[in-house]
Point group: C2
Chain length 506, copies 2
């Protein structure tokens, strides 16, 4: 195991490589300004934490599970991208649903705001406090409760780390139905609350399809037991879906039951060079037709993305320079069948001039090395002067239009505009890299990109959620009738608005 520590230019934090993988940094002294100072936001009419509140929490949880030491608090107050920072003075670490219920019930009665937090790997500032909200961490709720190996159904607590669940399932021939770059830190409860998407959505579908049951605690402490483990259950309203993607504003997810598909026995990824985006689209369509049920990821990136990776992460394209790259992953149950399908598809792509060149990785070391090129991109942001990063969904015909639009719009005022993402889901990650952070450039980029996305009938948040960072653009994402219905639901579930305030809603 080798470990390398880098100092970040702007935020002065540590980035740690372990076993060739990027790991979450434990920022020990670097930190952004307080969100309350940086952004124009007013504290809600919540009470301030008092001695008797603290004593209640200490009686309930014991002193060790009530964190108040300033240095210990830091990592809960600052987000993964080190872009927002709250000033909470307390982190609570319940171990049971009953404790969560008692905490929320107490907070509701005492009008104390609460910020639920899972692995704190979100990138829109949804999981850290804005002011002094009490941080409710699920990290000690990390038990696997049951696994039906025949049907493929796991039940676990919300704080289980995604990768740990997948490792547990791997020994039993099953897999978690989602894969994220942050899998080593993110928690299943957070995945549910943010309707996490990731790389394999094209294969396994979204959280709404994969979550079979939830246990959730409402703001008043009431436990909503929708923890069904059944694949089919049509008995009344499908309440659990309201909490999927609600970003902790309607309730705190405490337990999760989810569908575990059979684990593929064979995996292979093709890294391909292409002349233009149009050919990437045609290759994607061909992949769907010819690879069908074994297709498990379709990622695209442009050459400026590859240049960025080279500069910031010191990683090389394995095939040289091309205007566009596609990563097409297959995974299936039979090595010779799967390999034959992939090579037949690639031969056909070459002979029809869809792709210029490519390499195929099957050996796990090589395969992981290729995936690290893709998964490491977001790490690169941190070593830049500044990158604005946008998570967008677009109809495929406009997928790359937006990148070109942004290049024209930003002109020479930025260093580089680049685009990559989950082409198979129409999910673009668009980045604007500048010499140094500038509020003026942000104002130039941001309203434009969201308005343009709305015009192109896209989504201003494909998979990251609204959190704190995108909330002021909610009106571009939903028509007034939907926003009004959202407000009605928030009022119904959390009339005093104690759950994750300043998030989702403008």
């Amino acid at each position: 195991m080798f470990s390398k520590v880098q100092r970040c230019a702007r935020f002065q934090f540590f980035k740690v490589y372990e076993n060739g993988n990027f790991k979450r940094c434990g920022s020990t002294y670097g930190r952004p300004d307080f969100t309350k100072n940086t952004y124009n936001v007013s504290r809600g009419y919540y009470n301030y934490l008092q001695e008797d509140h603290i004593r209640f929490f200490q009686r309930l949880l014991g002193e060790k599970r009530v964190i108040m030491d300033l240095s210990d608090l830091e990592k809960y107050n600052v987000d993964w991208y080190i872009q927002v920072r709250g000033c909470s003075s307390i982190v609570l670490k319940p171990k049971t649903t009953d404790e969560v219920s008692k905490i929320l019930s107490f907070c509701e009665k005492n009008r104390l705001a609460v910020c639920p937090q899972g692995g704190n790997t979100g990138v829109v500032g949804g999981a850290v406090p804005v002011f002094d909200e009490i941080i409710l961490s699920t990290e000690l709720m990390n038990q696997i409760i049951s696994l039906d190996e025949t049907l493929g159904v796991m039940v676990c607590e919300a704080g289980c780390v995604l990768e740990n669940l997948d490792n547990h399932l791997a020994d039993r021939g099953l897999t978690v139905p989602l894969d994220l770059g942050s899998k080593g830190s993110c928690q299943i409860g957070g995945n549910v609350s943010t309707n996490a998407g990731g790389m394999r959505l094209i294969r396994y579908g979204n959280m709404h399809g994969n979550i079979l049951g939830l246990e959730v605690v409402k703001a008043n402490g009431e436990i909503i037991d929708c923890l069904s483990t059944l694949k089919k259950d049509n008995t009344g309203y499908h309440l659990k879906h309201l909490f999927i993607g609600a970003e902790g504003t309607l309730g705190v997810v405490t337990k999760v039951a989810f569908h575990c598909p059979p684990r593929p026995k064979y995996r292979s990824v093709a890294f391909l060079g292409l002349q233009d985006f149009h050919k990437a689209l045609k290759t994607f369509r061909k992949a769907k037709e010819e690879l069908g049920e074994i297709l498990s990821a379709v990622e695209v990136m442009d050459i400026p993305t590859m240049n960025f990776i080279k500069e910031k992460n010191n990683q090389q394209s394995p095939i040289g320079n091309y205007p566009f790259y596609l990563m097409i992953e297959i995974s299936g149950s039979n090595e010779s069948h799967d390999s034959e399908k992939l090579h037949s598809f690639l031969d056909s792509c070459m002979s029809s001039n869809l792709i210029l060149t490519g390499t195929v990785a099957t050996d796990p070391t090589k395969l992981n090395a290729i995936w690290r090129i893709r998964e490491g991109i977001s790490e690169g942001y941190k070593t830049c002067g500044a990158v604005f990063h946008y998570d967008i969904s677009l109809p495929l015909e406009h997928y790359y239009t937006l990148v070109d639009d942004m290049r024209r719009h930003m002109g020479s005022r930025c260093e580089r505009v680049f685009g990559y993402g989950h082409l198979g889901d129409g999910n673009l990650h668009l980045q604007i890299q500048m010499k140094e952070y500038s509020k003026e450039l942000k104002e130039l980029a941001e309203p434009y990109i969201y308005k343009r996305t709305a015009e192109l009938k896209g989504s201003i948040s494909a998979e990251h959620g609204m959190g704190f960072m995108k909330r002021r653009y909610l009106d571009l994402a939903k028509p007034p009738s939907s926003v009004s219905l959202m407000r009605d639901l928030k009022k119904l579930f959390d009339p005093n608005g104690i759950l994750n305030p300043y998030k989702v809603f403008p």
Copy 2:
């Protein structure tokens, strides 16, 4: 094409075979008693239809789309199983969302109850009126709006018939992600409203995973536009899921956007004979492991089911008599690969004594003939003196326990208890056949089966919904906190309760 007309013993209705398939009967004179007389139910405080109401509807829709002729009304008032019968005197057939909006807005203002109806293929009495509710039929809202062939996304109106959509997609290498026995009549809006399950859920997942967007009209006529066509869209609450499976009690679905997976190029079904249920379970697990991504249906039936099919539908087991039968369907993108996987799996099942015998059908005619054995079972009910049919989900270890339990419980008072269903989803269809219908036998069977299902941690409605028939058992399906939340939601969405009254809630 041959067409055969049968008279039903009990209900005197017509059953029509066309092209070897059962088709919906057009019941011209047979009918059950009025629901309001059969069941202990009181009419809500709604207004009665008056002349000026009719004039409003006629001005809005024209006279032809306001149906009031008694013989024309009949098929809208009686359900598919001819078990419940409303006494509505009017059917409205809007063609646009705007018309639906104006109708509901008018009904809400005038406190007129409305029963939304799609293909009227439901089996729990959810889509027909109980009293004189205005029937709002979506059958003229049957246009396909758009299809993104590359991403695989179709947008259409709610009244499109499932099979028509699938035929449209077939020409473009795509498929609808669900398959139901009633596909020739059921409408996509109804599929959404009932969260339809069916045979291929094991392959394509449920409606929550496949529906990308909905347009819905609330009780007050407000149009909720969640008609996203994007695979990923995390902008605020995921409102559309509230309407999926709400059985038309929270809003009327008017447009649907859904995911269309690549159409399999090859399909094959194995019809297998087994010694006992335990071996069926082991074979299922083996199928998941070895057939993986090409597995598309796993159906089970017991020998009494096969005897029933023989007697009522005059269909034979293609492999002789065995205690249990499994139907394992595969579908994939490569005939030789798929066929090789299936035969290797079957050889291994034979050599490990999991299965006793079997036959494989690949030729479409034979394949359809085998599926007709399975799909025709529910048709058989109609030619019986009486069958109570229950749609249940159970944890797999208890799947067949309930059938044995019911045999013991009913004893010699019934002719036959039999079980079949979607084993791959834990979904059991349990039937109790009697010489003739008896209210006493129903009371003996019904509370027991639902209570026992709840004890075994199953669901009292796997895929059919609560409708009118199961509503009084809602408390066995959901804890009080969930039922209370459901009531809050109903009140929020439809404060005057005009939408599909007497359904879902006790």
